[in-house]
Assembly symmetry: C2
Homo-oligomer: 131 residues x 2
């Protein structure tokens, strides 16, 4: 598995798992229809508790990114199943805001921030504007 846990991060373990699975999907390393490892298997792999992975999976399900089939497994939902509601768009914007604001106050220029966005897109293997 591609997931790497930083035990002393201020980001909770279940949140690290959630983020890295999302990034894996964004990169295309995992596609819709693919099954995630069982909570027990991934937990053993990462050296964490089963419930920690379970919490992450349910967070992913709440976001509409996976579907959990009880007693069976977790499947990455198709892009058609993912609505992208106005609420979700608003939430993304709400999440971007404090990061950008902090960057600006610390002295970053608009160009620097946009350059970082391009790096993030590139890291997610998404064709960025004018690349």
């Amino acid at each position: 598995m591609f997931i790497q846990i930083e035990p002393q991060s201020d980001v909770p373990i279940y949140e690290q798992v959630t983020r890295q699975i999302i990034e894996g999907i964004a990169r295309g390393e995992m596609k819709p229809g693919d099954t995630l490892p069982s909570v027990r298997a991934l937990a053993a792999d990462l050296g964490v508790n089963m419930h920690t992975v379970n919490k992450s999976y349910h967070e992913l399900e709440a976001k509409g990114i996976i579907v959990i089939r009880p007693k069976s497994g977790a499947i990455i939902s198709s892009t058609e199943e993912r609505a992208l509601t106005p609420d979700q768009l608003r939430q993304i914007e709400k999440n971007l805001k404090p990061v950008v604001a902090e960057g600006m106050v610390l002295g970053a220029t608009v160009e620097q921030i946009e350059h970082m966005m391009k790096k993030v897109f590139a890291d997610l293997q998404i064709p960025a504007e004018g690349v």
Copy 2:
């Protein structure tokens, strides 16, 4: 004061205070050299405990955004005092990444995300590219 607390947010109160002060500085509502209200005054204003505001101020100081002069007050540091170290730039990129990744996986296009960035810049009253 311009700060509005959402008591039932999943974002801790001290973090809400920190973010809104940063946004206030980004918008130019507060300038370098300005003093923040005393922790007691702001706490009373917001209806929260003194220590909650104090924690926020120390977070701002750790980020290099304000300087706390004991027994005196908290002053917004000058842009010259703010280094913008490679570490800070890396941190900003690290903060942007999960937000962008989630947006993409939920089905947002690069254009939609860049449009949201422009809205954020506009909200922070920063002239965005080609506006």
